[in-house]
């Protein structure tokens, strides 16, 4: 049997420790192609590059059997370019991450990590975004690697329903601290922004976006709840944003 073909990308950039951990695991599972941004793309949501040119470069900085390219675009651009210009066939799996920082709750819609996974899902490629709830530059990815492998193996074996990607968030801690894996729904949460206003050397105001994720959801079936209780959370996500329940509510407006 042929080895699975696996596309790896991320949003922290091709040199990030998180993608290196992900590549190490994927090299155990299949033939690995890496197409990742040449610079950090956090917070890029599902951006694509329309008004600028895109560059791809073969990238040979790191040892290993994987083939690598760096890309000047966003995570979604990386998936599109990989499929159209690089991969020998549609891959069996696309993995994105491991993100430095969690993408639970509403963060999924701001997340470059998840935009790559969703882009792959739109193309019917089974896809997973992995994030570690640790914002440091060089976190310990050893525990993450255990769960990445376990979840990726399940997806390679069982596939996923059409156009579905998995949003996986991993809590901080050693393997023995983590109680298991929970399949969840996205918590109803939002970022509470606290812009930091500063004054530049020429006396002009400017702002830095800061803030914190606020969980407004008391459910025990959410990703926020799972993470808080030291479980790995998996939320299956889709690109159909339709609120079906609202369709009926507003139809009568225009009778």
């Amino acid at each position: 049997m042929n080895k699975p073909l696996i596309l790896v990308t991320n949003d922290d950039g091709i040199d990030a420790y998180g993608i290196r951990a992900l590549i190490a695991v994927m090299n155990e599972l299949g033939d690995v192609y890496v197409v990742a941004p040449d610079s950090p793309q956090s917070g890029m949501g599902h951006a694509v590059t329309i008004n600028a040119t895109l560059h791809l470069e073969e990238y040979n900085k790191f040892p290993g059997p994987q083939k690598e390219w760096s890309c000047s675009g966003t995570p979604a651009d990386c998936v599109k370019l990989a499929k159209q210009q690089i991969l020998p066939r549609l891959p069996d799996l696309c993995v994105s991450g491991i993100n430095h920082g969690s993408n639970s709750g509403i963060s999924v819609i701001y997340s470059g990590t998840m935009s790559a996974a969703i882009e792959a899902a739109i193309e019917n490629i089974p896809a997973i975004g992995f994030s570690l709830n640790d914002y440091s530059f060089n976190p310990d990815f050893e525990t993450s690697k255990y769960f990445v492998k376990k979840i990726a193996q399940q997806v390679l074996q069982n596939k996923l329903p059409n156009n579905i990607a998995l949003n996986v968030n991993i809590p901080l801690g050693k393997l023995q601290d983590i109680h298991g894996i929970k399949v969840c729904r996205q918590a109803n949460s939002l970022w509470v922004e606290e812009f930091e206003k500063r004054i530049d050397p020429r006396g002009k105001d400017y702002f830095w976006l800061t803030g914190y994720l606020k969980n407004n959801d008391e459910g025990t079936d959410t990703d926020e709840f799972a993470l808080k209780n030291n479980y790995v959370s998996i939320v299956p996500v889709k690109a159909d944003l339709t609120s079906y329940t609202t369709i009926r509510a507003i139809e009568r407006w225009f009778d």
Copy 2:
């Protein structure tokens, strides 16, 4: 009774003809604050500016009762900054557009226009993104203005369910060519990419993203179907990406 407070933004930039048409209509309905990008932001998806500073400038180029600010950030940044730094209270309505080009089907997830509306919806502000199915620089927005007013009035009067935004697409044509308004679901469609490969003056390859929207959905209840049949389409959208049907399917994987 106080006049409604209305926030106007877009992704084509504060000087675009589409936002000028939108402002003209909103000035008839309430007190208007405009906070819009200082340059085009098409395809930005739900990007936010994390790794760069944000600037806001009062903008007095255009006549009218509205108050205006240009912003160096993305459409989602504009909504966040407007709420935190500019608006006297939470607005009664946020409108985004009128986009030069449609945002039907899967385009909603790449759309800066809709990211602004979804950002407002997350904050529980009733929100609408408007797009005209015409990609020219200076389209005729007269027909659009009729539907913009009609739909905005309904939302001001009835509100929307929590965290829901409306994705409104308007077909080309005169008023008498358009058969009415349909509340729809998002069509299952995807962008078929055809990167155009070019060679720069120094002999290096680069790419432009091009392509077309392919509708894989034969349903007659979709936005693509409505537009094709000369109806204005309204898809209610939400920021919860959870695929609830998939939760059950994959739960047993990790028993």
